[in-house]
């Protein structure tokens, strides 16, 4: 019977060497996870495609109330000193009616006719804006007034109506001055 030694024998050293060497992975054992790179590519492409094709449009809303029909409608009480600005969109331009009656061409005085005729076949929104600013300045009572009425020919398109609302919103010569922001529709006769 051999005595146990403090030193390893050559065979034991060889065995220790063999057992302590890290095992090399077989090629099929390496990276034991699903290869999701092609899937990731697809996702990235879809993401870019979605971002590129979605038309980013910035929208806004203009608030209003039901149209007046036969003197009825949901809206604020209007004092007798109010301007009661009404814009009629007709084929030849803008006819304007205010507290003093119909506004004459040129927006200078009361009188019959189209207050803001078309310019080169186009509606003149700048002149409409200037006229609205002038009418609002006519009396201190009108300064706090923000509502106006709008009506048009049955064939007037929606874009023209929105452009009129825009033209009456802010004084183009003094952008800090608000003119008429509350729109009310009237039923065309």
């Amino acid at each position: 019977m051999t005595e146990a030694s403090n030193e390893l024998s050559a065979a034991q050293r060889a065995r220790v060497r063999r057992l302590s060497t890290p095992r090399e992975l077989a090629p099929d054992e390496e990276g034991g996870e699903l290869n999701i790179i092609p899937f990731l590519d697809i996702i990235t492409n879809i993401l870019i495609f979605v971002l590129a094709t979605v038309a980013v449009t910035f929208t806004a809303t203009i608030d209003t109330t039901p149209p007046a029909s036969g003197g009825k409608g949901v809206r604020k009480e209007i004092e007798s000193t109010a301007l009661n600005l009404t814009i009629f969109i007709v084929n030849d331009g803008f006819s304007i009616k205010a507290a003093g009656g119909n506004v004459a061409p040129g927006c200078a005085s009361p009188g019959p006719g189209i207050a803001i005729p078309k310019k080169n076949g186009q509606y003149d929104y700048e002149a409409l804006n200037a006229c609205a600013a002038k009418l609002k300045s006519a009396s201190p009572d009108f300064e706090s007034e923000s509502q106006f009425y709008i009506t048009g020919n049955p064939s007037t398109d929606y874009q023209t109506i929105i452009s009129v609302i825009d033209a009456l919103r802010v004084d183009m010569r003094d952008k800090r001055r608000t003119l008429f922001t509350d729109v009310n529709f009237k039923v065309p006769r």
Binding site: T2, E3, A4, S5, N6, E7, L8, S9, A11, Q12, R15, V16, R17, L19, S20, P22, E30, G31, E33, I36, I37, L40, I43, I46, L47, V50, V54, T57, F58, T59, A60, T61, I62, D63, T64, T65, P66, P67, S69, G73, V74, I89, Q122, Y125, T151, G152, N153, P154, S155, T156, D157, Y158, Q159, I161, I162, S163, I165, D166, V187, P188
Partner: protein, 202 residues
């Protein structure tokens, strides 16, 4: 020396405990840090998928998702207000009238719309009437649901709001008929949807 100590031809072997101890030491000595031979992108993929789903859902529900095509092109405006999200959505395209996603009416040509609106057969009492019967019926149903929604939200249930998405070429006559029908069905406030523009359209 150990061989000599054993007194036989066989070499002396260390004890099993010594062998195990030496083996453990050798294993520790030879141990390698695991080699990073692939990037674990699963977490990133999860995030990207969530972002994609979130983006699609948000875009699908937001007002920015209003389809801009030949049938429906919003008017442009310089207004910069935040678009209202509350209310029953009513869409007027060139060919159809919709409440929410449901088609209510097919619209006639623009010439006809400008003269008599949607037509006498769709009105309550003749061509001069402004009330569109089919639209009114659809709005009554929408109003019932909206009333309950408003009650649940703590809003005033006595009237509803409507978001009107209309094509820029919609004739005033049709617009008034729609607004009038809304008013007759307890819709008291309308939000006219427009597309923001830097300059006022000419």
């Amino acid at each position: 020396m150990t061989e000599a100590a054993s007194g036989s031809g066989k070499p002396a072997r260390a004890s099993a405990a010594k062998f195990k101890s030496e083996l453990r030491k050798a294993v520790r000595r030879n141990a390698q840090e695991p080699e990073v031979n692939f990037l674990n992108i699963t977490a990133m993929l999860d995030i990207m998928t969530i972002i994609l789903v979130f983006l699609l859902k948000t875009l699908g529900e937001s007002s920015a998702a209003i389809p801009q095509n030949d049938d429906l092109r919003l008017p442009k405006s310089i207004v910069r207000t935040q678009p209202s999200e509350n209310g029953v959505v009513l869409t007027i395209s060139k060919t159809q009238l919709l409440v929410g996603d449901r088609k209510v009416l097919d619209l006639p040509g623009r010439e006809s719309l400008a003269q008599t609106g949607v037509g006498a057969q769709e009105k309550r009492s003749g061509p001069n009437d402004l009330y569109i019967v089919k639209l009114g019926n659809a709005l009554q149903a929408a109003r019932k649901i909206d009333r309950r929604v408003r009650e649940a939200k703590g809003l005033d249930p006595s009237s509803s709001e409507s978001i009107i998405i209309a094509d820029g070429t919609t004739p005033y006559r049709l617009l008034i008929e729609v607004l009038f029908t809304l008013g007759q069905n307890e819709f008291a406030r309308y939000h006219l949807m427009v597309m923001q523009s830097k300059e006022m359209p000419r």
